[in-house]
Subunit: 351 residues, 3 copies
């Protein structure tokens, strides 16, 4: 995929994705910046409705995307996102196509560029789910699909499934959906985000979506090592919307008052020296003991996969048994939210 | 997949899978020990019925699993098992999702454990087909899916597609189905198993299933090098059910009276020294000449893939042309048996 | 895949694929030599009809291949061909199965031969799409599927998706379809083929198909470096059908009178020495400037993927914007042509 290194960021800077503004039909989904509070409410209502219908084995669900095709373009692996998008499309009755031997082989082999690969997929499919290691790849894909439309008379759309250190908008959407779904509301709630808040794309996008909701009486407890704090522009953005932001490295104290706890990993390679990492590494681990100190009706979320930041395998088992741990419900919600998104993008349906 | 090496066998020892006992609905399928003779008869009748309906292009077959989703989790490749499960689910009208770039990449890349991966798949799917290089992985998956059920309010099930030196239950089921289907009955038949009977999981499982059928007048001719004999506990098990067991390394003599011949490979690396292997290696090869010495209505089976244990490529062609060779029918039966299993597990249907 | 090296070419030489002769039902598709002009006209009419019906969202299209299964056997990657065949089968309502982790792993791992793998797929599927790095693999597959039919009582068919330096018949079919579709006719047209005409399987097959159409007043402008000229037997074949053939290395002059321009790559490794390559390499690049010198209603085609033979990434963008560039329409046509082929092979339908 060395050929992709030649992609000039200039290509992307010029691309402005359309806001949803109440109408999802045939729109690329490449950034959380496209969503207003109303858009989110519509999307989440659709996700809950689809969940109910799936559980009731409503056969009409399988008609929603009938006759449409999704192409997977995963330039890197992501088990959960991949399976979740496929299951979402299939449950809607849509078709899914992907590259049999993995796309890495194909691209390395022939030195093919993203700009032609995405248009090839666009020739065969109505929607492309793109996962790519480079930031901006989704915007670039959107731009080239717009150009393709002039050739083939219809515009296939791209949905970002994560592009490098860029965005992973559907992860943020499912995270926020889970907060609304299991927490009831953002208003008056204290939301903790824990871990590497400097580099974590999921916490950045989630904070931006919370801001977009303009909630009332909401607090954000941003818990990180000092060198891994949330970027100041996001902090300022939230404060400008009357969200009470606390930045701290005192985990236990901040967790004690948090209704929602969003846990992420702190990676050793982000630290200037091993001593700095060693000083904090044991603190940024969620353990069964730490969870005991949290509010009895708190929600513990995690984007998964998890490693040492949730302790040992035995710790995992103990955490999983706690009713406050909702990361599996969060994972399942990912499928329902993606069903809602696909339904609205492909059919504009009021599902 | 180094992370999986940490799986303590203790996790599995404590898990007891449910016997089928006449009811397949929503049960994990992880060992041949779950099946009674009645269960097997029901399953095989369903397989034959589905085969007839597929050949008649009965459109109702495609309704049986409509609205359900199978997730493939293949941690190692297995062309036949993989394609066969997919074709089985699709022909029943069910949906199939899998990891686009192969799951090995994903796991290696992120160090994800089986226990979370299988629950991710469980969040999206109704049934998981698991292939894994480590023995006990299927039991472990069953245990964690049971735990997931407490979170998401429904229990996805796992069907083992082979776990290392552990079991490969659907292979044994399709083997036995083929014996019933093409051989008519186990009663009064002499069944030869040839090759490495010490390490071969397929012959172990098949012998256990034959025992579960409590046939009458059946003989087992166990033909192997002396150092690769069937484990004594399986031999005792069969003898305890009045099955006449002969253990021998005299291939031609034992084959001459065998109605069913189940051929497998003897691998060089199983021998203490090359001289021991060289002494027997040419004997444990099925050739067109050897097949000529067998009963005219014998059935020659093989789980495939095959290599030197069936001689050269030209030997393959000659063996294939012999009507006694039924390994391709055996392979096709694998799909129909898996259709029956999926139908019963997902719908409990009397198909 | 070292085991495949042992495939003796003798196996293939003896296999004669059936001509279509007006009836596609249940025939292997392995060479352009199977098609007459009438067959091509029927196929192209079906492709156009299916395209119209897909664009009108005609739900009947999804019934054409319902109840049938296609197995992908891609022994090497090919993003476009792979996605295109999958989308074609899915849009017809047929099912698609493939090897989860990529077939290369499986084969390398177990040393399995093509002759057994293709029959395994044949046991589960009605049609096999085979991509293989070795010439003749498709013929070999056809031969072994014919043998399988004697065992299982039905004959699955293979469609070649390219085998090494052998043929890639569906590429040639979609190329010719695009010439008819966008160019209207072959009669009286000048068709330029540019690049490595000695080794390029696409130009060989396309020239053979053009010959099969016995057009009137057609000219072939074969533009290549002198050392990479079209094989003389193909040149003679075309001349024998009253096609005016010009062989030249003067690109600009030959392009100036060409209605259809089929561009392909010249690879450095085909030259005896680097000096010979350096002497011609800049000439065999299609640039926006060169395209300006072509006829205003010329059609620029390319089988894709493309690299330096269409200049820089900025050149790509400029070429793409020119209405004469039809390689994306050509790519989309590939799906519709494959839909037509699958419909006719699986159902014999007058679609």
């Amino acid at each position: 995929m060395t050929s992709l290194a030649s992609t000039p960021p200039a290509d992307i800077a010029s691309y402005v994705p359309e806001p949803i503004a109440g109408d999802f039909l045939n729109k690329h989904i490449v950034t959380v910046g496209q969503f207003s509070r109303t858009d989110l409410e519509q999307l989440f209502a659709a996700a809950s409705s689809l969940r109910t219908r799936v559980r009731q084995r409503d056969r009409g669900v399988g008609e929603i995307a009938a006759g449409t095709v999704m192409s997977l373009l995963f330039f890197e692996s992501s088990t959960r996102t991949d399976l979740s998008f496929q299951a979402a499309m299939r449950r809607l009755g849509g078709e899914v196509v992907g590259v049999s031997n993995g796309i890495q082989f194909s691209s390395t082999y022939k030195g093919e560029d993203l700009h032609d690969t995405v248009r090839a997929a666009g020739c065969y499919a109505d929607v492309i789910t793109l996962r790519h290691p480079e930031a901006g790849a989704s915007m670039l894909a959107a731009k080239y699909l717009d150009q393709l439309a002039e050739k083939i008379g219809r515009r296939p759309v791209v949905i970002s499934a994560g592009d490098g250190i860029g965005e992973h908008p559907t992860q943020a959407l499912l995270d926020l959906y889970t907060i609304f779904d299991l927490g009831g509301s953002l208003d008056g709630r204290a939301i903790a985000m824990v871990g590497d808040l400097k580099h974590g794309r999921t916490v950045h996008s989630l904070a931006r979506l919370i801001h977009a909701c303009a909630p009332s009486g909401t607090a954000l407890n941003l818990i990180s090592p000092d060198c891994l704090r949330m970027p100041p522009e996001i902090v300022e953005l939230c404060r400008g919307a009357d969200i009470a932001v606390l930045e701290t490295d005192q985990i236990a104290a901040a967790l004690a008052s948090s209704d929602i706890i969003y846990w992420t990993r702190v990676q050793e390679e982000r630290f200037a020296d091993i001593a700095s990492y060693d000083r904090i590494k044991d603190d940024f681990v969620m353990t069964p003991e730490l969870l005991q100190t949290c509010l009895p009706n708190a929600l513990l979320m995690h984007p998964l996969p998890r490693k040492h930041e949730m302790g040992t395998r035995d710790d995992h088992d103990l955490l999983d048994a706690d009713p406050r741990s909702v990361y599996f419900q969060q994972m399942e919600n990912g499928m329902f939210m993606r069903m809602a998104l696909l339904a609205k993008v492909l059919r504009g349906a009021h599902v």
